[in-house]
């Protein structure tokens, strides 16, 4: 029987107790104890290459790709999985779990505010609930001890580079300077093999510097501004509420608040439209007066009177043909936008699904801003792979039959990754849900970018009705081109037009004068917010969706068609009043540009941090100086937000107040009561279940129409309850 010491031991640790052959090199050894003999032998530990990856799934793929036989050993060290692959030498492929290090305040100055001293520390020291990462980091450190060669194989972008850099620097004992870098855009075996063969000789330090600068600046702004707001509210109310803002969060909330203000302050103005219905070959069509909007009713009515004729004449028929080019390949923003359009997926939902597809090696790296597909990705190879799926056979086959494949590329490029494309690998298991939809969208888009332009025709028919001109405009697709390759996503709205020649007469059926009002600006939705952030160059492709989610989590915004809450308005107002630079898009954009300069090797991290701290200090000082006023404003909004959260709907008894979930200080019980109850103006109260969480659903009861509440018991499924004690559903013992 052979026992192997759990950890490699240093030569010096064992040589004092046992006889060691002095000719052995003084490095690290496996300590082997053979139990049936009274001898102890030392065996030289084989040195290996340590490869760090971002996630366990990526480690598995990389190990499978790099092992000579494609069968790496799946091992675990203190429960942390890793892989051992064999090729010209042994490789240990060890996964991280995303970020394992983070920026945190210097522990030596814990009560300091503003917090300007910080350090990079293990995540488990900075965040509650991250204690399991201590074991994970220790395992990485242990496994790195016997390595003499280090490779960073995390995703090739800012976040991936920081993850790899921090682990190599802090957990592996300063190996960041000697480590090499694998660069890849897909997790396919071919690309990983190629990436291993042609590794970059060192880490991409400008990219890392830019990433570190971004994290540090964001942390400085986030912690100090959020703490200033939270402290102000706490001092004013003696109650703790988490309020947050940040370098990107602030300007994002500001433009949402601006839109909300414009909607709430919108005054519609009336206008009138004039339309005619006429028939040609039995088909009824509608044409609109050339003056699209009449601003004075009497003028519209007088014009309508002049048009009351039985026949009209086609005065002119103009036709124009144009080519509609194929779309560009997907960058992340465009994918999120299309996924929202077709499936109503939020940007964060789309990114999560795309990330899973990437880890399954089905699509390329999704966090890209590129609209380019270089030939090196192997267009034909990918199409041949996709053609193995019956659903893609026709489109892939059509493209493969062409002599040349040339994608229609956009201007945007990304030095790290190409646009999003399918790898050509087919899913091992059938995909479902969001993954299935996003995969199909990426594949169809990939086909479409190689398609021919569609040929479309617009026709404008001008009708004369008693001297007044009416226009009928329509567009038809004559040659579908790329649209057929993008099916079912490539449908365009066609309006078929009748065959009318100049001078033809048409029978007028009716003239309609319609009352209209101008409309308020449309609300942003999750997709259009991300696009707006992209246009303003605030945040990064990887962070924008998460920042919007934070705004939802903080209750600054609500609903899919985004409405800014009272709390969101007040936070924006406070920032605008006391620190306008923080919510200024220009300020944020300027910092983004400076960080891009670091990435390009044109700027230094220290300069950007110094400048950012210089701008932050007076802002915090001003917030502290005005703390009572800031606190009062925020507390009012927090209370209002808490109140709104508990409102069920209008009171059915007094019609003046609202039914609200209340807590009786006297009995300690929850109940539904009218807001006028404590003013003694309304006595409406109903009981509620006393266990679990309860909140309004804003959905009416199917039986009685009252708004329902949702009860989340501590165990079991949530259920809906109508608070109306006389609701017919209660007689049948049903719940809504």
């Amino acid at each position: 029987m052979v026992f192997v010491h759990k950890k490699p031991l240093a030569y010096q640790d064992v040589q004092g107790d046992i006889k060691v052959d002095s000719s052995l090199p003084k490095t690290t050894y496996l300590f082997r104890v053979e139990a049936n003999q009274s001898t102890v032998s030392l065996q030289r530990l084989e040195k290996y290459t340590f490869i760090i990856t971002e996630k366990p799934d990526a480690a598995n793929r990389i190990a499978n790709a790099l092992d000579r036989a494609g069968k790496p050993k799946s091992l675990a060290h203190n429960g942390v999985p890793y892989y051992e692959a064999q090729r010209d030498r042994k490789l240990l492929i060890v996964p991280a779990l995303g970020h394992l290090y983070t920026v945190a305040a210097d522990k030596k100055k814990p009560r300091q505010f503003p917090v300007l001293d910080y350090d990079w520390v293990p995540l488990y020291l900075a965040e509650k609930g991250a204690s399991r990462l201590r074991i994970w980091l220790q395992a990485i450190a242990d496994l790195a001890k016997g390595a003499d060669d280090f490779v960073d194989a995390c995703d090739y972008d800012i976040e991936g580079s920081i993850i790899g850099y921090c682990i190599l620097r802090y957990a592996c004992g300063g190996k960041e300077t000697e480590a090499k870098r694998m660069k890849y855009s897909t997790l396919t075996a071919e690309e990983l093999e190629k990436s291993y063969q042609s590794m970059l000789p060192s880490l991409d330090f400008p990219l890392i510097e830019a990433g570190l600068a971004r994290h540090e600046v964001d942390w400085l702004y986030g912690i100090n501004l959020s703490r200033a707001l939270t402290l102000a509210a706490k001092k004013a109310s003696n109650q703790y509420t988490t309020l947050s803002t940040g370098r990107v969060q602030g300007p994002t909330l500001k433009f949402l608040a601006l839109r909300e203000r414009n909607i709430n302050c919108f005054v519609p103005t009336p206008y009138w439209t004039l339309k005619t219905r006429f028939s040609v070959d039995g088909k009824v069509l509608e044409a609109e007066h050339e003056k699209k909007a009449f601003e004075v009713k009497s003028e519209a009515e007088a014009t309508a009177k002049r048009c009351k004729v039985k026949t009209g004449t086609a005065e002119s028929v103009e036709k124009k043909q144009f080519r509609q080019p194929p779309p560009f390949p997907f960058d992340l923003g465009a994918l999120q936008s299309e996924a929202y359009r077709f499936f109503s997926y939020t940007p964060i939902h789309t990114l999560a699904a795309a990330q899973r597809l990437y880890l399954e090696a089905l699509i390329s790296y999704p966090r890209t801003s590129s609209q380019r597909l270089p030939p090196e990705i192997g267009y034909a190879r990918i199409l041949r792979g996709l053609a193995k799926n019956r659903a893609f056979l026709q489109a892939a086959g059509e493209l493969l039959s062409r002599t040349e494949l040339k994608p229609n590329e956009g201007k945007k490029a990304d030095s790290a990754h190409p646009a999003i494309y399918p790898t050509g690998k087919l899913p091992i298991k059938a995909l479902a849900g969001a993954e299935k939809n996003i995969y199909e969208l990426v594949v169809r888009r990939f086909f479409a970018v190689f398609g021919d332009p569609a040929l479309r025709q617009t026709a404008k028919i001008t009708l004369d009705l008693g001297g007044e001109k009416f226009l009928l405009v329509g567009t038809q697709t004559l040659e579908v081109g790329w649209l057929s390759l993008y099916e079912p996503f490539g449908r365009l709205r066609d309006t078929s037009l009748p065959l009318i020649k100049e001078g033809d007469s048409v029978a007028i059926k009716r003239i309609a004068l319609e009352d209209r009002f101008t409309k308020p600006p449309v609300r942003y939705n999750p997709s259009s917010v991300v696009r707006k952030m992209e246009r303003c160059n605030i945040g990064t492709k990887a962070t924008r969706a998460g920042i919007l989610q934070t705004l939802y989590n903080r209750k600054y915004v609500r609903d899919e068609k985004i409405a800014v809450t009272d709390l969101g308005f007040e936070v924006t107002n406070v920032l605008r009043e006391y620190c306008p630079s923080i919510v200024s898009v220009e300020f944020t954009r300027d910092l983004e540009e400076k960080m891009e300069h670091i990435q390009e090797g044109k700027g230094k991290k220290t300069e950007v941090i110094t400048q950012a701290v210089g701008a932050l200090k007076p802002v915090i000082a001003n917030l502290q100086l005005n703390e009572p006023a800031v606190g009062q404003k925020l507390v009012r909004a927090v209370n209002q937000a808490n109140l709104e959260e508990r409102i069920i709907g209008p009171c059915p008894t007094c019609h003046a107040g609202s039914l609200i979930i209340q807590y009786s200080k006297k009995t300690g019980k929850l109940f539904v009561g009218c807001t006028n109850y404590f003013k003694s103006a309304c006595k409406t109260v109903f009981p509620l279940p006393q266990r679990g969480y309860i909140w309004p659903t804003a959905r009416p009861c199917k039986e009685c129409g009252w708004n329902t509440v949702q009860v989340w018991p501590k165990r079991g499924r949530p259920w809906n309850l109508c608070p109306n004690p006389s609701c017919p559903s209660k007689r049948n013992g049903e719940t809504n």
Binding site: R261, N262, I263, F266, V267, P268
Partner: protein, 71 residues
């Protein structure tokens, strides 16, 4: 001082900055309504208070003015 229509602070005026802006927009849009429909100020306010496209703050101001303005 607080706004007559919400609890937000107002400095000199009876409305907060949001309702004040809504009031200004109401005043600015009246000439277009007058030209279009030849309405009185009061009728204009009634139309706005019931219009589904009008903003919430605008409607609140319109209703307040209907109740509190002298004819």
């Amino acid at each position: 001082m607080t706004c007559k229509l919400c609890n937000r602070a107002s400095t000199r005026d009876e409305f907060c900055e949001f309702h004040l802006r809504a009031l200004q927009n109401l005043k600015d849009s009246y000439p277009a309504w007058k030209r279009a429909l030849d309405l009185s100020w009061k009728d204009y306010l009634s139309q706005i208070a019931e219009n589904s496209s009008a903003g919430n703050w605008v409607k609140e101001v319109a209703k307040y003015l209907i109740e509190h303005e002298e004819t």
